[in-house]
Symmetry: C2
Subunit: 292 residues, 2 copies
């Protein structure tokens, strides 16, 4: 089966971003994609670079304009689409959510980002209430997908919880980039760590991993901005990178993956067999600084 | 501070292996090493390539000849040594253990390998009772070390449990190699996955990781044998490889590490802050195939 990754740049116009996303999904469909993943919060520029209450206006209900538009495409083209969205759940409760649309255009999965970052220029704790729907595996026509979002990618627990529910393909829509002043000399190590941790989830769990990032520089007034590093990729259940996009160009990747590879890798590297589930209880603690 | 890694080949003579290990520790001390890690089960060839009850004769009590010899070196040289050992606990109960000796030559830590593999030519479930001492962080004069062994390296839970107890340096004595018939074309992906998963533990937890493997081909009568791939390495808390040995030569690495780097990395990439400990309970299950 074929996975489509939409690596795109996002302008200040939400309407334009949505139109371009739709066009790129259609392009991926023409290339044979059956499950298509858009980048995190593609409908706008990455507004979390600043804390501004008026930016909550960017949030949409589910379903709202973005979901309706992509639902039509999913139905018309008979494909599964993972749509990252700034969700307005009610006044004062907003989430960084990921909607899974099936080939009938129906919502078959709703995931709300569980791990919320807060770092200079990534002020997400201001905008997003932490997810309350837990980790999930969503059956779709062509594969069981594991919806996850950006910062979740740094957490082995998130990948494990998702894989243990039967996910075959972990999908991480992402908005990650360099602080311009850190790009040299830290930038290479940062991008490398980002790839390494996600490839490790593939290896530890014997699943495919798909990461979809945006590209381009986005600098709000008064800020240095962020240079999103693209590099969207797919890796197989042993962490082998099957395809990867550039750091700075829009690209639509369509990647053939063979789900049978999961069974093959897990037979030869049977990590799931030997987990010491009797000894992991401490994982649910913040830090083990007190006697058990 | 300086970490010493002893990458060595192991002959059929246990006496010779122990003598050579002692000499190599002394060499690392001359190079400035303060904490020294030997490879997994260095006192013998990797006997788990076959299931043979007479090979239990290789097991030793703790303390036994190996621990006594290395204890003398630790005391004389005033260094910490991590000694991997085939432990005879009682008749019928044997472990793949890791002893931490302090600079007085005293045993300050005993870890018993928690995750036991069983694969063609790695028949460890025949020999080793799974560890019953849990994951640990051991304070030593120069750093808090996290003792882990080989197959443990594929488990994010093991690294997490150890780091959450305050370990600053995860140490993985290892015996891993290629099946000769798999080296091409699988070998490179295997070694790469092995590095990736261990570097990911450094990244996820903000700790140093030390992996110490053996080198050389060991083929018992009637078997194709294994070609141990060396590649012992140290990486920093962001997964950056600081030093790495070759795939086929004995090497003693002495690597300067700055423990202050842990604080620096964890401030800039505050993964531990955002863990969703309310949502990880499923980690203690084998598989989440039943409704919660």
């Amino acid at each position: 089966m074929n996975i489509g990754l939409i690596q795109m740049a996002c302008s200040a116009s939400t309407g334009e971003n949505l139109e371009r996303a739709v066009a790129k999904v259609e392009e991926a469909v023409k290339g044979g994609a059956q499950i298509i993943c858009l980048p995190e919060l593609f409908r706008s520029q990455y507004f979390c670079q600043q804390e501004d209450v008026t930016l909550f206006d960017l949030a949409e209900p589910i379903p709202g304009p973005s979901i309706k538009a992509l639902s039509r495409v999913a139905k018309t083209c008979r494909v599964t689409i993972l749509v990252s969205i700034f969700e307005r759940r009610t006044a004062g409760v907003y989430h960084n959510s990921l909607v899974v649309l099936d080939e009938r255009g129906e919502i078959v999965g709703l995931y709300r980002k569980m791990h919320i970052p807060d770092d200079p220029a990534y002020f997400e704790k201001f905008y997003f209430t932490p997810g309350d729907l837990g980790f999930q595996a969503i059956k779709t026509a062509h594969a069981t997908v594991g919806p996850l979002v950006c910062w979740d990618q740094w957490y082995p627990e998130a990948a494990r919880m998702t894989a243990l529910q039967g996910a075959e393909v972990l999908c991480y829509p992402t908005a990650i980039g360099w602080h311009p002043q850190e790009k040299h000399p830290e930038g290479q190590a940062q991008r490398d760590a980002w790839m390494t941790i996600q490839r490790s989830h593939a290896i530890a769990n014997g699943v495919f991993v798909v990461a979809v990032n945006r590209v381009g520089c986005e600098a709000p007034a008064g800020g240095d901005g962020l240079e999103f590093w693209g590099s969207s990729f797919v890796c197989d259940p042993f962490g082998v990178v099957l395809a990867q996009a550039s750091v700075d160009q829009e690209e639509t990747l369509v990647v053939d993956i063979d789900l049978k590879r999961i069974e093959e890798v897990r037979r030869n590297w049977p990590f799931l067999r030997d987990r010491r589930i009797d000894a992991y209880e401490g994982i649910t603690k913040r830090f083990l600084d007190e006697p058990a």
